[in-house]
């Protein structure tokens, strides 16, 4: 498995015009700001390009491009450099904003776009499963995000109440 190699292939796919802007989210995205977190796959949000004459966005060009380069499919995943990768359209205004405002990082000369720490935190709050809350706590504990930017995202996307509830549950009731 080699995540850097997977990113190189995805960058080439973007350069070849198969996908538009992309950004890494999930545990792999969080690793750019925190300690590495165990995960099974890579979530990549993509600005899809509609095929000519079609209104429905299709993953077909991505699958075809990668299959031609020897990347097998496993269920809804495409395996790139050993990593199961899932390409996703931004399904909410928050994720759409996260994609638009993703940060460009550098891995030994290879550029890669990743959701900002503040957007990763807001998405974790919005999704709200146990492991998302645990990740949000990691960000809080590490002081790995900018509070003012995070608050403005929460306000824009109607997540202030949920954050207050999270604070009451996890950040104030400490023994």
């Amino acid at each position: 498995m080699n995540i850097k190699e997977a990113i190189t292939i995805i960058n080439q796919m973007q350069a070849d015009g198969v996908i538009g802007r992309y950004a890494i989210a999930g545990a792999v995205g969080a690793t750019f700001y925190l300690e590495p977190v165990t995960t099974l796959d890579v979530d990549i949000f993509v600005a899809f390009r509609a095929e000519p004459g079609k209104l429905i966005l299709s993953l077909r060009p991505i699958y075809d491009y990668l299959a031609a380069r020897g990347c097998p499919t496993e269920g809804e995943y495409i395996v790139i450099a050993g990593w199961p990768v899932q390409f996703l359209p931004p399904g909410t205004p928050l994720v759409e904003e996260a994609l638009n405002e993703a940060i460009e990082h550098d891995i030994d000369g290879e550029p890669v776009r990743v959701f900002s720490a503040e957007h990763l935190c807001a998405i974790a709050l919005q999704v709200g499963r146990a492991k998302d809350k645990a990740r949000l706590l990691q960000f809080v504990e590490a002081g790995a995000f900018e509070a003012a930017r995070f608050q403005s995202i929460l306000t824009r996307h109607g997540l202030v109440d949920r954050w207050q509830q999270f604070e009451r549950q996890f950040l104030r009731d400490q023994p």
Binding site: M1, P36, L88
Partner: protein, 71 residues
């Protein structure tokens, strides 16, 4: 070796901070190894999976839910 819980927790926190501060390329190499282990564990545990076991739905995003891709 100390069994002072407070010191143990502080030590763990310090280690996590040290890992987080490493260069991204190094952290991604660690992630490669972690993922390989996670897949190996999943393969092994799938062989002894018990029906009726409670597990959290892993589908994390609205896009996945809309696509009906919950697993």
């Amino acid at each position: 070796m100390s069994f002072d819980l407070q010191r143990v927790l502080e030590s763990k926190r310090a280690y996590r901070q040290k890992l987080a501060a490493r260069p991204v390329a190094e952290k991604l190499r660690l992630l490669d190894e972690l993922c390989e282990r996670a897949h190996a564990i999943r393969r092994a545990s799938a062989a002894v999976h018990e029906p009726g076991k409670v597990a959290e739905d892993p589908a994390p995003y609205e896009a996945k839910r809309r696509a009906g891709k919950t697993r």
